[in-house]
């Protein structure tokens, strides 16, 4: 695990790192869709969403690294998978399945919308500023995922089946979003209690799922642990690709 700094500043840094890693890892997944989307408009839209997430990641990683003198690139390129603090939902591959991509974006953007709405009034000025900008971006991501969930759920028989399968695939990773964060109680007025986000996030997603004529999956939760650095092989493979060149030539400027 990371120890970016000691005491309160270190805790804020670890908190920012978790949120930044979420955004970075999902940005990387979104990037996989560019030039492979079902329509040209989706290449543009998913690229846009990926760029927004990457922007959030850069702001949060820069802030996290400022606690101990690391840059955004040190954090993105020179940590192993066991040092990443993202939730598992964002690292799971969608295998080029658009329904899976939409289901993951629906859940994650609904969660981020609630998170950033609260974080915008954080007592930490940097977190509050990042959240105030991101909350507008995430509203668009959530709307985009919602529109597609409706079209796929209530489109054709095949799209209905695929969208339901997409939801079923991501649902085991929903619980982890709201798991108690060991840092949060020590950062009153700064961090957001994840447990507080469960009700509004699930209500939003369930509402969309119902309108899309789909069912909220009844599946057991998968083991979490992403915030503590316990990840799936999918993250290891992703980082091998993402970090390969930067690690092959350390210390240079790109």
């Amino acid at each position: 695990m990371n120890t970016p700094g000691q005491g309160r500043a270190g805790d804020v840094a670890i908190y920012a790192l978790g949120l930044g890693d979420d955004a970075l890892v999902l940005a990387q997944r979104m990037g996989e869709w560019i030039a492979s989307a079902p329509e040209l408009e989706e290449d543009v839209a998913l690229g846009n969403i990926g760029l927004d997430l990457l922007g959030q990641a850069r702001a949060l990683l820069t802030y996290a690294g400022s606690a101990d003198g690391r840059t955004e690139d040190d954090l993105a390129y020179l940590r192993g998978a066991d040092e990443f603090c993202n939730v598992l939902l964002v690292e799971r591959p969608d295998d080029g399945d658009f329904a899976h991509c939409v289901a993951r974006l629906l859940v994650f953007s609904a969660y981020q919308a609630e998170l950033y709405a609260r974080l915008a009034s954080s007592g930490d000025e940097t977190l509050s500023a990042v959240a105030a900008k991101a909350v507008k971006e995430v509203a668009y991501h959530r709307d985009h995922a919602t529109q597609w969930a409706l079209r796929l759920g209530d489109g054709t028989e095949e799209s209905h089946r695929r969208m339901q399968a997409g939801l079923d695939a991501v649902w085991p990773y929903v619980d982890e979003l709201f798991a108690a964060d060991e840092l949060e109680p020590g950062l009153p007025g700064v961090a957001v209690d994840p447990a507080e986000l469960r009700e509004p996030t699930v209500a939003y997603v369930s509402g969309v799922v119902g309108r899309a004529t789909l069912a909220v999956p009844d599946v057991p939760a998968a083991p979490g642990g992403g915030r503590a650095g316990r990840h799936t092989d999918a993250l290891v493979s992703m980082l091998a690709e993402m970090q390969g060149l930067a690690r092959a030539m350390p210390g240079v400027t790109w």
Partner: protein, 329 residues
Amino acid sequence: MYGNHDTTSVPVEAPAADDPTFDRDFMALIDDDGRVEPRDAMPDAYRRGLVRQIAQHAHSEIIGMQPEGSWIGRAPSLKRKAILMAKVQDEAGHGLYLYAAAETLGVDRADLLDRLHTGRQKYSSIFNYPTPTWADIGAIGWLVDGAAITNQVPITKCSYGPYARAMVRICKEESFHQRQGFEILHTLSHGSPQQHAMAQDAVDRWWWPSLMMFGPPDDDSPNSARSMRWGIKRFSNDELRQRFVDMTAPQSHALGLSLPDPELAFDALTGHWRYGEIDFTELFEVIKGNGPLNAQRMAHRTDAHERGDWVREAALGYAAKHARTEAVA
């Protein structure tokens, strides 16, 4: 980004004054440097030629997303990743404007894509070359986008209004892309010896294919004269190629990189850079489908399209269903 060469063998019929279908008013408009708009009457051959050119240009934009898109996941810094994502996204946007411009001529995007997927329409051959290193992203920006801009700036003044206007915005974005490519190469060239070598290798590989983006020499370019008569093309292949070499050769000095042509030299008498003979046999092989990655580029495109079939059907199904519901309500 886009090349200039017309890769189809079916020529657009040339307008000739003794042709009974020759439209005097139309040609007067062209000769007067006027703009043709979608609802204006236009000769069929003009319409067909434009559809083919704009579609080929649009196809080039979307196939062109692949060689660079493959580096989004591997870009060596977050800043470079963000710039590259935005660039490839711009190319998708260019594809959209151009398909929309073609649609003003009475064709639809789905049909044009079908023609691409079945090999009836082409895209610029430059995208059949591989991008094995990060420096290729710099070289594509500097050379390929640079060549594309040289080709495209005159199209902002072409006779067909929607195409000309689409090109104004595209050229602005392309010149931004070219500067980004130059900056990637500049950083590499002035970085470690390994980075410098990577940059030089990429420039060595992309230089000649970039010169070929302007198409065959003028005396071997049957469609150029027709295009120029229609006011679609303003300068010949060789004129544009020379303009590109004149712009690029001095920039290579600023980059600290050499261009792989021992005959490249400034000619003080003409004020132009002289360059060595281009081996067009390679270009024609790539056009015929024998380039390094022709098959892979098409397979990626058709695969993405087919994997998206059910998504597009769902969107249509949903729209139809809800149109009915609204009509009932």
